[in-house]
């Protein structure tokens, strides 16, 4: 299948099931989804609805049981682990709920990591710039354990953008943070996203955060439905402006 030039990600008849001892558990019912380049999309839903499963399939971290996933024209469902990791290195960025910084590396080195893996020659320079953009220039040589939760997530955001990915997956990026810090992180994420023009796929159960995205889809017991909330577009943009 050839993707429309505007589409960055396309999913067709995607299912995921796991085999338990005596029965099969359907995590995802057959679903369709297309995401355009530069779009911001929120996947919302309650715990256990299948949001995270969907995210792992979209990002090529896992393989579907049936169905197809195309990311930048790469048929991820046909790829092995190695090929998928190559695609991730070249096109994908991540932000995790648990931050997942590498404890043995400094903040700067954590940020540089994806750039190095993607063969970007000026990784250090870019890392420093990005740390400056998230307001952590002074903490470049600190280890994650010396940073607060909010600071760690800011480092994670810098890391997510350094390789200028085509698509960024954020899994509950403010889930581990208090309200105020969470809001600040969210602002930062949307600001940078807008600046870089990256496609953003945000998984959250936080309706407020989801509403800052152009588009929302909802997962419920493995079934995906599109939510239309056009009025929130303006709010999203205005918040970004405030932060900047």
């Amino acid at each position: 299948m050839k993707l429309d030039p505007n589409n960055i990600l396309k999913v067709h008849a995607l299912t995921k099931s796991v085999q338990l001892e005596d029965k099969t558990l359907e995590l995802l019912q057959p679903l369709e989804l297309t995401i355009n380049a530069g779009e911001t999309l929120a996947i919302v839903g309650s715990s256990g609805s299948g949001k995270t499963t969907l995210l792992s399939l979209l990002a090529g971290l896992d393989l579907p049981t049936t169905g197809e996933v195309y990311l930048k024209n790469h048929a991820l469902h046909q790829f092995n682990e190695e090929q998928r990791s190559q695609v991730r290195a070249n096109h994908v960025g991540f932000i995790f709920q648990q931050f997942l910084l590498i404890n043995s590396l400094t903040a700067l080195e954590n940020v540089m990591l994806p750039a190095e893996l993607a063969n970007i020659s000026d990784a250090r320079q870019r890392g420093k710039e990005l740390l400056a953009q998230v307001g952590l220039s002074e903490r470049a040589d600190h280890y994650p354990s010396q940073l607060s939760g909010g600071e760690q997530q800011r480092v994670a955001i810098a890391r997510a953008f350094i390789a200028e990915p085509d698509i960024l997956f954020a899994d509950e990026p403010t889930g581990n943070l208090d309200n105020k810090t969470g809001k600040h992180i969210a602002n930062l994420l949307f600001e940078l996203n807008q600046k870089k023009g990256t496609t953003l796929v945000l998984v959250t159960h936080d309706q407020k955060l989801a509403s800052r995205c152009e588009r929302q889809v909802e997962m419920d017991s493995g079934v995906l439905t599109e939510k239309t909330v056009p009025h929130q577009l303006n709010e999203c943009a205005s918040t970004v402006n405030k932060v900047g």
């Binding site: 971290l61 990791s85 190559q86 290195a89 043995s104 994806p114 893996l117 063969n119």
Partner: protein, 864 residues
């Protein structure tokens, strides 16, 4: 993705993994995350290096030192002149050779005569040690000599007093006269037999023929002394050993000195055992630490993979990381090992000169191999699992599941452990029994530990709150804890084992050579001298073993069958029996040759009671009033001469022949310096024969000066001082005891490391639990106490099981390996439980202290 971006991409990614690997290593070292694993490898390498170097050096030094006691590196003793090919072969190996012929002969000076021991030596004698002679009456310090000039002899002081002559006078030996040219003060390979014929006279081998002492049938012992490069000596030994017949023996200082040799062998076995246990502990520490390493690195691998790092990239990164970590640890281990070795040798220098000993390549090579084996075999599974971490873990969380306890994945560490034990001990039985024993013990402990911990819960439910929580924790983690428990138990067990064995070996040595061990034999005492000598003994604070009547006689026939007589000393006979037992081919040959005899005159005695430290094995001891003649024989000689209870033995005492039945067989402790007799008769057999008396004395250092006066007063008495050889034995015991202490410290370190590594391995899990408990409002003191009690309980259970396992192991070691009598050590059980509880408790609490001090928010932030 912009074209500009693409341009920026470097074409060459080949060295990224190197860069990242080095960066990781640098940071992790700085942050102390690799300390435990690094220490484990360092300790394994340092232990092996220092111990193998140390024991190698001690062995060399002791052998060199003790070589002086046989005046050579090796001696060939034979009753006939050696075949010329033997001499030629020794020359081919560029060995130095000296000859010594020993015989007994009457010597005359005017009207006086004396039975003496003749040592006929060649010019190179002695090859090791020093022969010291005073050549002029007024000379104070003796000079170091080789053989006397042809035509002259050197004599022991009592020859002069008993023949009433002086330096410069003449003695007749055989048909020739010799000038006395000096007084012997020191003979390196002097015989310490209690029953020698008389004082020693040394003459040059060039004069032997002139004396006409060598006649058909004359009893001579030929000794060929060899010395040289250790490898050449060994090759020569390999060449000559198969060519020896029953009348020849080839020995080194160790074989010649059974006491020294026994002490050394026990010490070597102990050092080797202790080192092996040290290695096992260090290996366990590596295994535990690498498991934790694997778990800690999982998030990193998952993030790397999620961010697009390929599997080969991660594999190379970690292989390099691990290799560098191993190399650094091995290098540090070698340095630490070398420092320990220097420390050990400098501590030992006071007792033993180690200067001329070489280290060789063995310590280096086996310690590096140990380090590599530990680093590779014990870490391969955790690292393989780590590298295979799924990138999906970044979303799904990290698995803490452990591998099944029994399976193929355990093969590499087990094989590696076996290889390590084999490399170090070169003893298949010891390695296999340690390995299989260890595996069985671990399996039993695993099951037993789980049971104990579940039982603890029932008891604990009535106890205080912290205890309750602690025991509930133990129960809940019974499965992981039982693995932890096995490590604790093994560590404590090995520590107890080494302590108990050290104690029992050293006390056994001390028992063998108590403070009052005799250091002099006094011989040729006439009956009329007894009371005067007794008062000398009492006046000079000498501890005497009492006086034994001694008769010189020969065993000539068994059940009427004459014996083939080959010269041999008492101890040599006993040793020969033992070595023949191991050499079955010789036994078969022996069956076809005539019955072997003792080959020389024996010191015979009579007694109403069984001699001190002898044990009756067969038959019965006689009543003092028994009139019928009887003899009791030493068990090893009985076996060697195939004599059984009821056999009729014929003896020849100065031409008078009599036959008596064997009515008992005794075990004699040859290790002691007591007066030991092979044949003991009842009084009725010997009462009519002329006898002299013999005694063994412990002469205190301060009264030694009085002995010269004593000898002048009783010139006919022969006295033999073997204080020097006893002193050397004490020194060896002392040295080896120090070596054992040093090893004990290393083993304790290794054991502690296992405990720390194991506690650290459970840290993440504990962190999560503490966070939950804190959130639920648990007080700091409750948490602290519950952590402390949990570890204390774990340590106490481990201590109890360790004591039990130690007892079994000690029993096996004492009876099977060290040839000692078994003993039980209940006091060590308390020590085991106490040490287990306090050590594990303290280490556990300290390791968790940092966690316990963290605020709830931090804990939650770190773990959620």
């Amino acid at each position: 993705m912009s074209a500009n971006f693409l341009d920026k991409r470097a074409m060459n990614k080949s060295n990224l993994w190197i860069k990242q690997s080095l960066r990781l290593l640098h940071h992790e070292f700085r942050r102390g995350e690799l300390t435990i694993i690094c220490l484990a490898i360092v300790l394994a390498v340092a232990t092996v290096f220092s111990l193998s170097g140390f024991s190698g050096k001690i062995k060399q030094a002791l052998l060199t030192n003790s070589s002086s006691y046989i005046a050579a590196d090796r001696v060939l003793r034979t009753s006939r002149i050696a075949a010329p090919e033997i001499i030629e072969k020794s020359q081919q190996y560029t060995l130095k050779m000296a000859e010594k012929v020993e015989t007994e002969s009457m010597v005359f000076a005017g009207e006086n005569m004396l039975l003496s021991e003749l040592s006929v030596i060649s010019d190179l004698y002695p090859l090791r040690g020093e022969l010291k002679v005073i050549k002029m009456a007024e000379q104070q310090v003796p000079t170091v000599e080789h053989a006397p000039k042809s035509g002259s002899v050197w004599v022991e002081p009592s020859v002069l007093s008993r023949l009433d002559i002086d330096i410069g006078d003449q003695v007749e030996i055989g048909v020739t006269s010799f000038v006395i040219a000096g007084i012997i003060t020191d003979i390196p390979d002097r015989s310490y037999r209690a029953f020698i014929a008389g004082p020693t006279i040394i003459l040059n081998i060039a004069d032997l023929e002139k004396t006409q002492l060598v006649q058909p049938g004359s009893r001579l012992t030929y000794k060929y002394l060899f010395a040289g490069n250790i490898d050449a000596i060994k090759s020569f030994e390999e060449w000559i050993k198969p060519k020896l017949n029953d009348t020849q023996s080839f020995y080194d200082a160790k074989q010649a000195q059974s006491r020294l040799s026994n002490t050394l062998t026990t010490a070597e076995k102990f050092l080797s055992l202790a080192s092996m246990l040290g290695i096992v502990l260090a290996a366990v520490a590596v295994a535990v630490a690498s498991r934790r390493y694997g778990q800690r690195h999982q998030p990193m691998v998952a993030v790397f993979k999620a961010l697009g790092a390929s599997l080969p990239h991660i594999r190379k990164l970690y292989y390099l990381h691990w290799s560098l970590l191993s190399l650094i640890s091995i290098s540090i281990g070698l340095i630490v090992g070398y420092c320990l070795l220097l420390l050990g040798t400098s501590a030992m220098d006071h007792y033993l000169s180690l200067e001329n000993t070489s280290l060789g390549y063995k310590p280096l090579s086996i310690s590096v191999v140990t380090g590599l084996l530990c680093a590779i075999a014990f870490a391969i599974q955790p690292i393989k699992r780590l590298i295979n971490t799924s990138p999906l873990s970044v979303i799904r969380g990290f698995s803490t599941e452990t591998l099944p306890r029994f399976g193929l994945h355990q093969l590499p560490p087990i094989l590696a452990l076996f290889a390590l034990l084999m490399i170090f001990s070169q003893d298949l039985t010891m390695s296999l029994s340690l390995l299989i024993g260890g595996m069985l013990v671990s399996a039993v402990l695993l099951a037993f530990g789980q049971g104990l911990m579940s039982a603890g819960r029932t008891v604990g439910s009535q106890a205080g709150k912290s205890w309750h929580l602690a025991l509930a924790n133990l129960k809940r983690r019974a499965s992981e804890n039982s693995v932890q428990l096995v490590s604790f138990t093994i560590a404590i067990k090995l520590l107890l084992l080494i302590t108990v064995m050290k104690h029992s070996i050293i006390s056994e040595w001390q028992q063998q050579f108590p403070e009052n061990t005799p250091n002099h034999y006094v011989m040729n005492i006439a009956e009329h001298q007894l009371s005067a000598i007794d008062s000398f003994v009492n006046a000079n604070n000498i501890q005497s073993q009492g006086f034994y009547q001694v008769f010189r006689g020969r065993l000539s026939a068994v059940n009427g069958e004459s014996l083939l007589n080959t010269e041999m000393s008492d101890e040599a006979s006993v040793e020969k029996t033992q070595s023949d037992k191991q050499d079955k081919t010789k036994t078969t040959e022996k069956e076809n040759t005539p019955r072997q005899g003792m080959g020389r005159e024996l010191g015979l005695t009579w007694g109403d009671e069984i001699p001190y430290q002898n044990k009756l094995l067969e038959g019965q001891w006689w009543q003092p009033e028994d009139q019928q003649g009887q003899v009791s024989i030493e068990s090893a000689i009985a076996e060697r001469l195939s004599i059984v209870l009821g056999d009729e033995l014929t003896f020849d005492l100065g031409g008078q022949v009599f036959t008596v039945p064997v009515t008992s067989i005794r075990e004699v402790n040859w290790q002691s310096r007591q007066l030991n007799f092979i044949m003991v008769f009842n009084k009725s057999v010997l009462e009519n024969f002329p006898a002299t008396y013999i005694s063994a004395w412990m002469v205190p250092e301060q009264t030694k000066d009085h002995l010269a006066h004593f000898l002048r007063e009783f010139p006919t008495i022969t006295m033999m001082d073997f204080g020097a050889i006893l002193k050397q034995l004490y020194q060896v015991i002392e040295q080896v005891s120090i070596a054992i202490e040093l090893i004990l410290i290393l083993v304790v370190l290794a054991g502690s490391l296992v405990l720390i590594a194991q506690v650290q391995a459970s840290m993440e899990e504990r962190e999560r639990e503490l966070a939950i408990l804190r959130t639920l409002g648990a007080k700091g003191s409750l948490l602290r106490n519950s952590v402390l009690f949990e570890f204390v309980a774990l340590g106490a259970i481990a201590g109890l099981m360790a004591s039990f396992a130690m007892e079994i192991a000690v029993y096996f070691l004492q009876t099977q390996v060290f040839d000692m009598s078994a003993s039980f050590h209940f006091s060590y059980w308390l020590l085991g439980i106490g040490v287990g509880a306090s050590f594990v408790g303290i280490v556990g609490l300290f390791s968790c202290w940092r966690l316990l001090q963290l605020s709830s928010v931090t804990l939650i932030r770190r773990t959620m």
